[in-house]
Each structure stands twice: as C-alpha cells, then as structure tokens.
C-alpha cells in the first residue's frame, strides 16, 4: 500500500512537468497580454515595449518558463495584474469558497442519489424505478446553466428565499457564528441547484450496480443461508454495489478544488471557477496559469485517490 502510493506519487512528477509546460505555453499563445486594453490609448507604445522588456515578456519562452517554475517551486505563483495581490493569497481566498460549495454539493448529491439509486435498483422495472429513471434522464438532459438560472430567478429573485450573489453578507466578522451561517446560507441555493442536476450519474451507477449484483451467485448463497431479504440487500448487495461509487469519490474530490464555472458565475459566487473565467478574459496570466496548474494537479491527485480508495474498499485489489 505504502510502496504503491509512493510509486504513484513519483509517476506524477513527469506528468506534472509536462502539464506545467503545456499550460505555460498555451498561456503564452493567447493573443494580447496583461497590458493590452489596460492602459490608456495615449501611452507611448515605445514605453509599453519598454515595460514588456523590463518584465521579461520578450524573452524566449523557456527562459520565462524557468523563471516562472522557479517561483512556483518556492511557492511563489507571482502577482495578479488585476487584483494587485499575490496569486497564492488570491487563490487561498477563492479555494475555500469553492471547497465548501463542492462539499455541500457532494453531500446533497449523495443524500439524493443513494436512496433513489437503491430504490431504483431493488425494484427495477417497476413504476418506482421508472419514476426515478425519468428524473435522472431529465437531470441528464437539462443544461446546468439554464436550470441554475431558473433556480436563481425563482428562489432568489421571485420568492426571495435565498441571496442572489456573493458568498457572505458584507460586514460580518469572520469566525463568528453569524458569519458561518451566512456562508452556509449563501452556498445552499447553488449547491442544491447543482446537486439536483448532477445526481443522475450517481443514481444510475448505483442502480445498475445493484441490478447487476442482484443476479450474482453469492446472493443465492446468502439466501440459501437463510438471510432475510433486508439482510441480503444491506449486507451483500449494497456493500458490493457501492464499490464503484466509492472509487468515483476520488474524482468528485477533484471538483472540490476546481469548483464549478457555470454555477459560480451564475450565482456570482467568488470561487475558483469564477476566478478562472475572469483571469482568462482579463489576460491575467499569472492567475490563469496558477489556477490551471492547480486544476491539473487536482485531477492527477483525484485519480490517485480513486485508486487508493478502491484498494481500501475492495480486498481483491488490495495492494501489498
């Protein structure tokens, strides 16, 4: 187990190097830079070139990359052109918001998906299953950005039950109870909207696993032992059906860091997804490369985490 994790982590290093080069070069290839559109039209273009020269933006890409990488390795992701603050600090603020939003979404997803998936799988091809499958198809077919807008309009503006933007009411002291409750209140509507729409995959996964496991020989063995139907479901079928869901958790955790671009933008929620979109449109390279790199690292870690979780829950792939 330990050896496996170390080996997997070592394999990550070349992956990360390739990823960082790719991100850096793609960032460089984008037209314009942080100065374009940000300075007054009466500024002398020669002066702009001077600034570019000063900042080292005219150096060959590998020199710039080396400089950037050197900073990254020391934990210095550079400074945001737009926010005029260190990128690490900026990301630090945003990542916390995205994290809690994703945790709330994940919890809601499982609260909805597990009972529905179990019902659907256990009573497959009955009206209950058809109802639940119908719901998951609707969820699958509805675009998230339209559904989120409808939710925002209905519960945010028309009914006024939830705040319509931001992640906390301004003026509250961080750390107080009111502050925490306000945070929770702000992330509830985005989390519900997202959970309702994205839960279909978990429901269908679970349903199909249960339908599949139901027909396995060891279920007959369990019945032949005299186990009641409830026990057969809880002890034998469910345990075996949750394996892929557990493995999937690793990838879901990737989303904890990445946040959701659509949801955060629609609900004006200051998270990582929103930061990414902003930094692209404003050519805020340092932020863009840092955020993209972080997403990359998160998905590589997510895959590793999935493998580790699976090896914990499934004895057949337990690693020695």
């Amino acid at each position: 187990m330990w050896k496996f994790s170390v080996r997997r982590t070592l394999i990550m290093i070349p992956q990360l190097i390739v990823l960082s080069i790719l991100i850096f070069v793609l960032g460089q290839l984008m037209p314009g830079d942080a100065l374009s559109g940000q300075v007054g039209p009466d500024v002398d273009p020669a002066r702009l070139d001077e600034i570019r020269e000063q900042m080292g933006w005219n150096d060959p890409w590998h020199e710039q990359y080396a400089r950037w990488m050197g900073g990254v390795l020391q934990g210095d992701l550079g400074e945001s052109f737009r926010f005029k603050m260190p990128v690490t600090e900026l990301i630090g603020q945003r990542i916390v918001n995205s994290f809690w939003l994703s945790v709330a979404t994940l919890i809601l997803t499982y609260i909805i998906a597990i009972p529905l998936g179990i019902t659907s799988g256990r009573f497959n091809d009955t009206w209950r299953d058809q109802l639940i499958t119908g719901y998951s198809y609707v969820g699958f077919a509805t675009p998230l950005f339209i559904f989120a807008l409808v939710m925002l309009w209905l519960f945010g503006f028309t009914l006024g039950w939830f705040p319509t933007s931001g992640s906390v009411t301004p003026g509250l002291e961080p750390g107080t109870f009111e502050y925490v409750m306000s945070k929770l209140y702000h992330l509830l509507l985005p989390a519900i909207s997202m959970a309702l729409i994205t839960t279909y995959s978990t429901i269908q996964y679970l349903r199909n696993e249960i339908v599949d496991t139901k027909q396995k020989d060891f279920i007959i063995t369990a019945r032949a032992k005299g186990a009641s139907e409830t026990r057969v479901y809880n002890r034998h079928i469910l345990r075996n059906s949750l394996l892929p869901i557990a493995a999937f958790l690793g990838f879901e955790i990737t989303g904890l860091i990445g946040g959701s671009i659509f949801i955060e933008n629609i609900f004006g929620y200051p998270g990582m997804g929103q930061l990414l979109v902003e930094s692209i449109s404003l050519r805020d390279y340092t932020v863009l490369t840092a955020v993209t790199l972080l997403f990359g690292i998160a998905s590589i870690l997510g895959a590793l985490l999935s493998d580790i979780i699976l090896s914990i829950v499934d004895p057949r792939i337990r690693i020695k």
Binding site: K216, D217, F218, I220, T221, A222, R223, A224, K225, G226, A227, S228, E229, R231, R235, H236, R239, N240, L243, D314, P315, R316
Partner: protein, 337 residues
C-alpha cells in the same frame, strides 16, 4: 423401508417466457429418505437445478405448484420468513460454481459465521469463531486459523468449494442439496470433494440430494438414482439395479454414452438431438420419443406414467419394452464392480 425425510408431490415449477408459463419441472413426485444419497441425473436443461432451487425455495420469479413436504411443513407454501428458518438450518445447499458463490468482500470467517449467526442468535462471538474454525478443519482446510481471515479470491477453487461445504453443514442440516458440486472443478479436486462429501455423510446422518450429470459420480456416491428428462423423472432405482438393469431408453442411452476403458471403441455413443428448450417441449406423450425416432410410435404411451416394475424400480412409458439400439452390438452391460 427407510424413513422419509422429504417428500415432493406433483411439483411443477414454471417459468414465464413472454406471456406463458412453461414448466421446467413438470408434475414431479419424489421421495428422499433419511441417510441416503439420492442422485438426480440428466443432461443439461433437464430441470435438475430447477428442482433443487425449488426445494430450497430459491426461485424468485417462478410459479411453483404442488407440495414439498419436509417434516410437517410444506416448503412450497411457506412465507419468506418461515423459509428463512429452514434454509441454512435444516436444509443446506452446495452450489455448482464455488468461484462465484462466495461474497468477494467478506472474509471466510464472516461468511460461514453468518450462517451460524442467522440460526443461533444467542451464540457468542467467540463460540462462533471456534465453530467456524472447527468447520474449516472438518472440511479439510489446512491452516484454518489463517484461512479464516482470508478473502475468497485468495483461495483456490477446491478450497472455496470446501468453504461452501462448511457453510452448508454449519448448522448440521438433515438434508444437503449438492447442485453439481464438482462440475466447475478439475478432476483431481473433484474426487477430493466427493470423498469429503462421502465422509461427511457418514458423520452427519443427513440425506443428500446429489445433482449431477456425471454417471461416474453417481456410481461412486449414490444409494438411489432418479433419472430426469425434460422436467420429468423417467426412471428411479437403487444404484445397483440402475447400472445392472437400466430400463428406460434414456437411461440406457446415457449409460451407453460413457466411454468404457475396458473395451476398444471406435466411436462414442451419442444420443441424437438435444434436450428440447422449455417452449418447444412436447407436453404430450413420451418426451424422449423424438430422440429415438427408430422406435415405432405405437411403442409409446399416450400419457406415460411412472410405473413400478420391481420393488423400488420405477419406469415411465412402455417404450422401454420395445427399445433397442439401432446397432445391437454396441450396448454393453454396466454391472457395478
């Protein structure tokens, strides 16, 4: 006359295909006595397993008519909770494929322990552990203390079948149903498993229903044999009679298909055709007639019944009186050594 343990009366197990029910076990009556090994023989698709599953009440989507009398209960009419009290306690079952019959996520101790737990709620955890260890030793698993904490995938097929047997006999059942227990195993392991079942039979005083298509297994293990064809029993006899004096054409054909090592044979005997599928099964007349077309129609009965020809020897249909193989020289006598 031996004591009756299980009496099956007019059992019909039907499966739904499209809108109709088709009987896989058709109006079958059979008795299992205490302390005997009753072998049920037939080709694949004859309804042997469907019969075994009916006795355990394991069919989930079949329609079951008739009676399965065990002690003073009727298994066929039991509610699920009554059934759960009998399964695993009074009747144990060993399945065909030990590779898939164990829960991959449970340790061996937990799987065998579950059978004990379900029928002895008061049993302490340590007592259960000891009993599991005891059972594992009994079925001949080496290093039982170690194997107890292993998962099924860490064991070989033979070991897993031993675990299945341990599970089936955990509560000292009076009746053990073995549904082709050696089919999925290789030949050397097969004989070990059969030896084990033989050994346990003497210890347990249980009746055993052994389902197989291997006549070698029958000769080695059985006291009495029921030959099944297309959902019906076509011949019942004790094992010596059956091998020495097989009557029904199907029984004779089966016996004749066994390669004989004493004699040089150019060709193995093959029974023409296949077992008809459920939908295409002729429900009238002698069901085997289609596979012995050279026997004249008039030899068969219109409504063949099982009839006793000698005490304890029953045969269905009259066609056995007129039956002979097309090539007379082929048939040899199968006298048990």
């Amino acid at each position: 006359m031996a004591d009756k343990l299980l009496e099956i009366k007019n059992l019909t197990t039907s499966f739904r295909i499209k809108d109709d029910y088709h009987a896989a076990v058709d109006n079958l009556s059979l008795t299992v006595n205490k302390n005997e090994v009753l072998a049920i023989v037939g080709e694949s698709g004859c309804g042997k397993s469907a019969l075994a599953f009916s006795i355990m009440g394991l069919h989930t989507r079949a329609k079951i008519d008739g009676d399965i009398l065990y002690r003073d209960h009727n298994i066929a009419k039991m509610t699920p909770s009554e059934l759960n009290k009998v399964r695993g306690k009074d009747i144990g079952m060993i399945f065909q494929d030990p590779l898939t019959s164990l829960n991959p996520l449970m340790q061996i101790e937990e799987q065998i322990g579950e059978t004990l737990l379900l029928h002895n709620k008061e049993m302490s955890k340590t007592a259960r552990q000891e009993r599991v260890l005891d059972l594992l030793n009994k079925v001949g698993i080496p290093r039982a203390e170690y194997v107890m904490n292993q998962f099924p995938h860490e064991l070989s097929g033979g070991m897993r079948q031993r675990v299945m047997i341990a599970m089936a006999i955990a509560n000292k059942p009076e009746l053990l149903i073995a549904d082709e227990p050696t089919t999925a195993l290789d030949v050397t392991i097969q004989s070990q498993i059969l030896d084990l079942i033989n050994k346990l039979k003497d210890e347990m005083n249980a009746g055993i229903v052994l389902i197989t298509h291997d006549l070698g297994v029958v000769a080695e293990m059985a006291d009495r044999v029921a030959v099944m064809y297309a959902g019906q029993i076509v011949e019942v006899a004790d094992v010596k009679t059956l091998f020495a004096n097989p009557l029904h054409p199907y029984t004779r054909s089966l016996l004749n298909s066994v390669p004989n090592s004493d004699q040089e044979q150019d060709q193995l005997h093959v029974i023409q055709g296949i077992v008809p599928s459920l939908q295409n099964l002729p429900r009238e007349g002698c069901r085997f007639s289609a596979r012995i077309p050279w026997v004249d129609e008039s030899a068969h009965e219109k409504h063949p019944e099982l009839r006793e020809v000698d005490p304890g020897h029953q045969v269905r249909c009259t066609c056995y009186k007129h039956f002979s193989f097309p090539d007379e020289t082929k048939e040899e006598q199968h006298v048990l050594s």
